[in-house]
Amino acid sequence: MSLHIVSKSPFSSTALADCLTSFIEGDALVLIEDGVYALSGALKSQPVVGPVYCLAADAQARGLTIPAAVEAIDDDRWASLCTEHNPIVSWFR
């Protein structure tokens, strides 16, 4: 199943919204770069989809706390997720 990678803020881009429209059972979502701002909004308490992963370094860079419902990951875990899923779909605009 697909691994979706979102790298833009949900407050200024429709990248996350478009991704969620394409999200189906069995898929997974990785928030990177400005995509981690979803943690301060839509995905704060109860994510609408799952599983949701978040690059810890990107959240830390931006002063965001990763909520319990989202799994903090490093680059190595991200790479592993990419081997466990296919295709890999980037949403960057």
């Binding site: 199943m1 697909s2 478009d18 394409s22 189906i24 069995g26 295709p87 890999i88 949403w91 605009r93």
Partner: protein
């Protein structure tokens, strides 16, 4: 190889280079007989509007690239129905002359049926 790939086209034409460079990548792959399928979603559906005349902004017409697709055996393309209705458009509003356009309601299911997705 038997691998199936999808080009996911989400950008409007002309405002930035991604729509054009995406189609160029698709044409290059097709010339090597590795044509991906195409899915237009989000603002990418605007690539399919008829009557584009970009001379006045000094750009080449992107629809020529679309019309070239059938030459490379890209006979059909998918269009996200949700994206169309969000933009007040229907399939009838889109241009003909390129590959046949197939509306898709569940693009998640479509995407997951491919081995590779190229996002543009």
């Amino acid at each position: 190889m038997g691998k199936r790939s999808l080009a996911l086209c989400r950008q409007a034409p002309y405002g930035n280079a991604l729509a054009r460079e995406g189609l160029e990548a698709v044409l290059a792959a097709s010339a090597l007989e590795q044509a991906p399928d195409l899915l237009f979603s989000g603002d990418g559906v605007f690539q399919l509007l008829p009557g584009q005349e970009p001379d006045g902004i000094g750009q080449k017409n992107l629809q020529r690239n679309l019309q070239a697709l059938p030459i490379f055996d890209i006979e059909r393309a998918y269009v996200c129905e949700h994206s169309l209705s969000q933009r007040g458009l229907s399939l009838d509003d889109l241009a003909t002359g390129g590959p046949a356009l197939h509306p898709v309601s569940d693009i998640g299911k479509l995407i997951s049926s491919y081995d590779t997705v190229l996002s543009f």
